[in-house]
Amino acid sequence: MSQLIKIENLIYAYGSKIAVDLPYLEVEEGDLFGLIGADGAGKTSLFRLIASLYKPKQGKITVFGQDTMKDYAKIRQFTGYMPGKFSLYEDLTIKENMNFFASVFETTVAENYSLIEEIYVMLKPFENRKAGKLSGGMKQKLALCSALIHKPKLLLLDEPTTGVDPASRQEFWEMLLKLQKRGITIIVSTPYLDEAQMCNKLALMHKSKIIAQGNTSDFITNFPKSLFHIKASKMRDLIHILRDFPHCHSAYSFGDAIHYQDKRNLTERVIQQELDAYLKKAGFSEVRIDKQIPSIEDAFIDYLHGQENDN
């Protein structure tokens, strides 16, 4: 697979505040590349840099070999971009918006209808409704259609599912997988880690830096230490007591339980027994300690944890 985006020594700053600091990143053609990070991590800035909307303060971004500084006009021909904020015209109807953006890219809705058909059929009944009057899920579908109208090779989606209901989010991701199969490279940011697992590549962005990246499956298989799923009476105190355990690497609530990692490289059984004894001594009953298969979320929490300890 050839490399579609290559970023080298990239620095972007708002005044003196560094927003993106990226020594190296590449995205291969055909990737569904997930960018994960909290608000303010620098995801939107990175999108705008790739879309050639921001000038790097330092370093270089190439998209299909074109420099975002010099050849931005070419990049804009084959890039579809969906900003985090709904950016279509709210006073125009669905149909008018589609026709407008098709004409902007010198094409027609009919010409590329096959690409957007699956999403657009859901919008069709509301074709004459103004975009401002649509629900979050519908707006997002419309924005995706409009970003796809010119058959882009690269699709940049900045938090497309934020503020969208779970059913629409599900549909949206299924759509992205289909687009990936059609050979469109997609970079998508999301704050939801369950969604991120659908991507084949992931990068975790934290405080302007990408602190971890790679194949999604590797994040789980490379999880460094054994992980435990712990439940007990008095759940509210459990997390603090576990964190007070001298060998605790990390403990965090996960759903209705606590996920725990130990600092030591002991066998699981030894740790399990020690913890059980420690918790019972601390006055907990109904203690259940199970081995947990790490999820992507565990992997990222672990990375973030490592990051904070470094600082």
Binding site: R48, A51, S52, L53, Y54, K55, Y72, A73, R76, Q77, T79, Y81, P83, K85, F86, S87, L88, Y89, E90, D91, L92, E96, N99, F100, F101, S103, V104, F105, E106, S146, A147
Partner: protein, 367 residues
């Protein structure tokens, strides 16, 4: 080209779906014409006056009759006691008192000095000035008829050319045209362009193959078309409702209007290239464009009455030159050869604004 046409179509959709912009575009010009034409007029009609006639001659009586015979003035009373003159003014019974000297008839025929005195209620200075001008005209006319041999005398201090009746429609139509073109072209253009930035639409327009000039021209053309409609409106209303003359070439008038239109559009684009929100654009356009156009261009206040600094400042306001051009063509009926200076200044200002706008237009979101 299809791309471009759709862009313009889209812009018209924005305009026609936004009732506020429709009001500004079509309501405001009409309201202004009506306000300036009828309500805020400086024209005088049926102004009451008193006469203190010391001469009591046939000549003085003919003069009084002549003044009273116009639509402008109505003789309210004769004053016999000079102490009562002020009372007539302060009690608001009359706007002015005409005082005729005892040796009026002889004076008109021979001496150099004025034998007629006007006491004016100047609480409304514009009206007072107009009254004086009207009376001057009437007396000058009277002098020519009654004493044709006496020649031109200092009796009449102000000579009124081009607008002998000081009709205010003559004055407000050119000014209003400049004002409305500035409003629609510069004000609305700057707002419509910043709107794209503010609402985030610019973000996707920039990431499209559209060239900056296509975005700008596409956004501006609808306003240019609407401005042309408004020019036609004002000219027609001016001609048929207010009797505004057109003594010069209509073609020249239209060409000069297009030049000013272009100038206003480029100013609007210029403002939008410096601002990112509609509110700021609106404030800049209001304070930086509309107010000077209204107050300093000679539209409402004569430039010659301004302090020197403001007089210089008025020279960089495009509307100043446009108003001069319009008055020249409409009232004086002069041709391009007398308007080269103004036309050149307008053209240069336009080029300057366009050059800065092009340089300032950002193909990216950051600086």
């Amino acid at each position: 080209m299809k791309q471009f046409i759709y862009f313009i179509k889209k812009e018209f959709l924005h305009i026609f779906r936004d009732s506020k912009s429709l009001i500004i575009l079509f309501g405001l010009p009409i309201i202004q014409i009506i306000l300036f034409g009828f309500a805020l007029t400086n024209e005088i009609k049926n102004v009451n006056f008193a006469v203190y006639d010391n001469s009591k001659s046939h000549a003085s009586q003919r003069l009084i009759n002549k003044i009273n015979a116009t639509d402008f003035f109505t003789l309210q009373e004769y004053i016999t006691n000079p102490d009562k003159m002020e009372d007539a003014l302060t009690s608001n019974r009359v706007k002015f008192v005409l005082v005729i000297d005892a040796d009026f008839a002889q004076g008109m025929a021979q001496t150099e000095e004025s034998k007629i005195q006007l006491l004016l209620d100047a609480s409304d200075p514009n009206i007072a000035t107009n009254i004086r001008a009207y009376i001057n005209n009437i007396i000058a006319d009277f002098a020519r008829e009654e004493f044709p041999t006496s020649g031109e005398k200092e009796l009449i201090t102000a000579k009124m050319f081009y607008n002998p009746q000081v009709k205010s429609a003559y004055l407000f139509i050119p000014g209003l045209m400049a004002f409305i073109l500035t409003l629609i072209s510069a004000f609305m253009t700057s707002i419509t362009l910043t709107r794209e930035k503010e609402l985030g639409n610019m973000e996707i327009l920039l990431v499209s193959p559209l060239k900056p000039y296509q975005i700008i021209i596409g956004k501006v053309i609808p306003y240019a078309i609407l401005s042309i409609v408004n020019i036609a409106n004002i000219l027609l209303l001016g001609k048929f409702v207010f009797g505004m003359p057109l003594n010069g070439s209509l073609l020249l008038l239209i060409l000069e209007s297009f030049l000013f239109l272009l100038n206003s559009l480029s100013l609007g684009i210029l403002i939008s290239s410096f601002t990112n929100s509609r509110q700021v654009a609106m404030m800049v356009a209001l304070a930086g464009l509309l107010l000077p156009t209204m107050l300093l261009s000679g539209f409402i206040f004569p430039i010659s009455n301004m302090p020197k600094v403001l007089q210089y400042f008025s020279q960089v306001i495009p509307a100043t030159h446009f108003i001069t051009i319009l008055k020249g063509i409409m009232i004086k009926g002069i041709g391009i050869s007398y308007l080269i200076k103004e036309t050149t200044i307008l053209a240069l200002l336009t080029l300057l604004f366009i050059a800065i706008s092009i340089k300032k237009f950002n193909v990216r979101l950051d600086k």
